[in-house]
Amino acid sequence: MSDGTLLINGTTHPFKPGQTILEVAEEAGIAIPTLCHLKGTTPTGACRLCVVEVKGARNLLASCSTPAENGMEVTTDSPTVMSSRKMTLELLLSSGNHDCITSGAGTDARELFNARAEAEGHSEHLCPSWGDCKLQEYALAYGATGTAYPRSKPTYPPELKNPMIIRDFSRCILCGRCVQACNEVQVNEAISYGYRGSESKIVALGDLPLGQSACVFCGECVQVCPTGALVDKKSKGIWRPWDVETIRTTCPYCGVGCQQILHVKEGRIVKITGDEEGLPNKGRLCVKGRFGYDFIYSDERLTTPLIRENGEFREASWDEALDLVADKLKGIIAESGPDAIAGVSCARSLNEDSYQMQKLFRGVFKTNNIDHCART
């Protein structure tokens, strides 16, 4: 390993010690398809989609796990490479329930979806990750159809038991990204490879449902899964990538302040993912940040001001409620002075809200009786 340069597709590129061919290519803006590679974790070389040709090497090499070397001559798009990738994709497609690809139907995921939905009269049964699946994306790009090999029967039934994550083993390509995410990124150490050969399966603690394992439902595995094998239960069927706009925001729970991407459909949040570029969390979220959003749509939300009358609340207009508050406070200030009023601000709400509240107390009522649960 040394500082140096290598040739990719005939152009010279510098690299730093320890960089892989994939990393050098990415920096140079040369796209190499990957399925199992998860940035920042140990390469597993499980999928072999990222293969490239290296002059002098007997076989194609996985670019995600091969260190760059001085003077290397790499080709990322030779016919051998392309056909190897296509074959890899064909094998993956035939290994499970990847019925989204049919030969000759076109290459746009959304159009394919609409065509299927129309032909079959409904769409809930179509893969929940349609349009957001790396396998599908590459299959369409490389012209793999899933018909080159006989399709194998699913070995394991899906796990639907827990409230958050659907594990559909029939769509699992055993790329191991979820295992890396759980063990090396979040370090929750809940899942691993289990069984052997054609029986292989991603298992939680000796093959138990997630709820009985060490899983803490952070959903990192769902975020990194390239296929429809791991899916947010709450979003399934509601979320389709072309239906949502994405909005970046900050998690409303703890003081870490994770950056989230809200997936919003018709004014409603239908899914949350972590923002990979966001500081401080770099894409990571916990169970609350990922799944704790739907309280805002609760039927129990307050929708109108309320005024207590004869011991009961009755609905009121803003003007009525605010006039009442103002009159009452004016009276108390006149009788007992401003320090007879006190207020508690909210440590969950916006900065701008707290600023306004203390401004109201200080600048309007003329009291410093403003606090919040600062110490809890």
């Binding site: 401080p280 169970v287 006190a342 508690v344 707290s354 606090d371």
Partner: protein
């Protein structure tokens, strides 16, 4: 936090005290675990065998409320064995002699019985801690929620200054803030003694500045009341009107019975919230507010980073942004506030009127937020404070502290120590998480976490309902028998109204900060 989360994954040594990070700050803990996997050392001081202990080189399983005894004993060893940073102490601190004199009394041998940790383990911890510089010290409410909370905080600062772990990357004193915007609420002046940006109400030039900016006269120079004093004021009628914005005090303050008595004594109670709850039940007027993601604004996280919050949905019915409600009320007092959006409030007032935020404007925080202090528009923000040992007030002052026991300790009648906190799947009074599909399925009720030894002794089986009582109240909850808990202690949270630990907790406060001692009170546990 003096330092930042971005430093976690390459820090070399952590001292975590009173912080159950994997449940209360889960994502922060992932970066810490990454560092440990890469060879960083980790010392965890906690009465419970909490999740991080699995990754720790050393677990100091101290007794609840013995933090100062432990910290002083560590400093005793560090000074005795000359493991401290003499240059840092010499150049950047004052009061070393007083500290030395105090901790000369607190040998590990003398403190061992208070902490419940063997003297040799304390010595080993001191040596390990001093062996890698810098070390990041992180704490949470295990340090602050005690009658000696302020002294606990002083103590951890003493330790970090002694080791020269201040003002450097991957060092510092790092309180992980519990609530998403508790940092921001402090920064914004929702405190009785300061305007936003920690500008003192006592300072006449500060008041003049705000009088000019707000176009008002006669700002009060007297620091106001803190929450517990406000609550007392409701009963003795010194406080006649009480405005509660967003806090469910009836579930989150210690001793629910007392709190409910206080709230019911209010002459005029205004509740501004997104749901009816145990606190709004006492209100005379309820104002419906917009929730997270229903209006624009900012939160400030524990590392002082001001992040954008954006609108995704419209508030239900007539619910309104909180800032609008306050502005409307000001109008009824004859003041027309010019700012008419969160951005205008931030850019034109918050940033303009506080030197620490001056350089932070919405256009600069479109993607990643900026960390204050950020004094001007080209300033990159501050990742860690006190660079090169520069403290706000010149030199860092050692403040020697002496251990004091919790206000209430176990006795014959109430032989267990109850400590409390948050659990992973819920948040505070569950106003929000209790209304999210699935979270109640992951954790549906409160439990009394108890050690296998105590459970056996009392004949309590896992999942069996037990009665937990204190001098203030009693609850019936299921027992969760777990090795996390040492004998003599039980642990509960305050997420559920039923079995809420605050029926039991002690409203005893730190004399200065008036933080309640949620972390220690005496209880009895009985089989029923």
């Amino acid at each position: 936090m003096t330092n930042s989360f971005g430093e976690f994954d390459h820090a070399k040594m952590f001292f975590i005290i009173g912080s159950n990070m994997t449940e209360a700050h889960p994502v922060a803990s992932t970066f810490l675990k990454n560092a440990v996997k890469n060879g960083a050392k980790l010392i965890v001081a906690d009465p419970r065998r909490q999740n991080l202990v699995k990754y720790a080189d050393l677990h100091l399983q101290l007794k609840v409320g013995s933090d100062i005894a432990l910290l002083n004993a560590l400093m005793h060893v560090i000074i005795e064995e000359e493991l401290f940073d003499p240059t840092f102490v010499q150049e950047n601190t004052e009061g070393f002699e007083a500290l030395s004199a105090e901790v000369a009394q607190t040998s590990p041998e003398a403190m061992a019985p208070i902490c419940g940790i063997e003297a040799e383990a304390i010595r080993e911890a001191a040596r390990m801690l001093a062996s890698v510089r810098p070390a990041m010290l992180c704490y949470t409410l295990g340090i602050t929620e005690h009658t000696c909370g302020k002294n606990n905080v002083m103590s951890v600062a003493n330790l970090q200054m002694l080791l020269g772990n201040m003002g450097v990357e991957c060092g510092g004193v790092n309180p992980l803030r519990g609530q998403n915007n508790v940092q921001g609420a402090c920064d914004m002046g929702a405190l009785p003694g300061v305007f936003h940006g920690y500008q003192s109400v006592v300072d006449p030039s500060v008041r003049q500045k705000f009088e000019a900016a707000w176009g008002v006269t006669g700002l009060s120079a007297t620091p106001g009341l803190m929450i517990p004093q406000m609550m007392d004021g409701l009963v003795d009628k010194k406080v006649r009107a009480f405005w509660i914005f967003g806090e469910n005090l009836a579930n989150t303050e210690p001793d629910i019975r007392k709190v409910e008595h206080e709230l019911s004594s209010a002459e005029f109670l205004i509740s501004q919230d997104i749901f009816l709850n145990e606190t709004t039940a006492f209100a005379h007027v309820v104002l419906p507010a917009a929730a997270w993601s229903e209006n624009d604004g900012t939160f400030t996280n524990s590392e002082r980073r001001v992040n954008r919050v954006r609108t995704a949905s419209t508030p239900p019915g007539a619910a309104k942004p909180n800032w609008w409600i306050f502005k409307e009320l000001a109008k009824r007092f004859g003041q027309t506030w010019p700012s008419n959006s969160a951005q205008e409030i931030w850019d034109n007032e918050i940033a303009a009127l506080a030197p620490n935020f001056k350089g932070i404007t919405y256009n600069r925080i479109e993607t990643n937020g900026l960390q204050w202090p950020c004094p001007h528009a080209d300033h990159p923000g501050t990742v860690f404070l006190h660079k090169e040992g520069q403290f706000t007030r010149g030199k860092g002052a050692f403040t020697p502290t002496t251990w004091t026991p919790p206000a209430e300790v176990a006795d014959a009648q109430y032989p267990f120590v109850l400590s409390t906190g948050r659990r992973l799947y819920h948040y505070n009074a569950r106003t929000q998480t209790g209304r999210c599909e699935g979270l109640d399925d992951l954790l549906g009720e409160e439990t009394c976490d108890i050690s296998p030894g105590d459970a056996r002794r009392l004949g309590i089986h896992p999942e069996e309902t037990v009665r937990v009582s204190s001098r203030r109240g009693a609850v019936e909850v299921k027992a969760r028998v777990t090795r996390e808990i040492p004998d003599g202690m039980i642990w509960m949270s305050f997420h559920f109204r039923e079995g809420n630990s605050n029926w039991l907790t002690n409203p005893a406060y730190d004399p200065e900060t008036l933080t309640a001692e949620y972390k220690a009170c005496a209880v009895q546990v009985e089989k029923i």
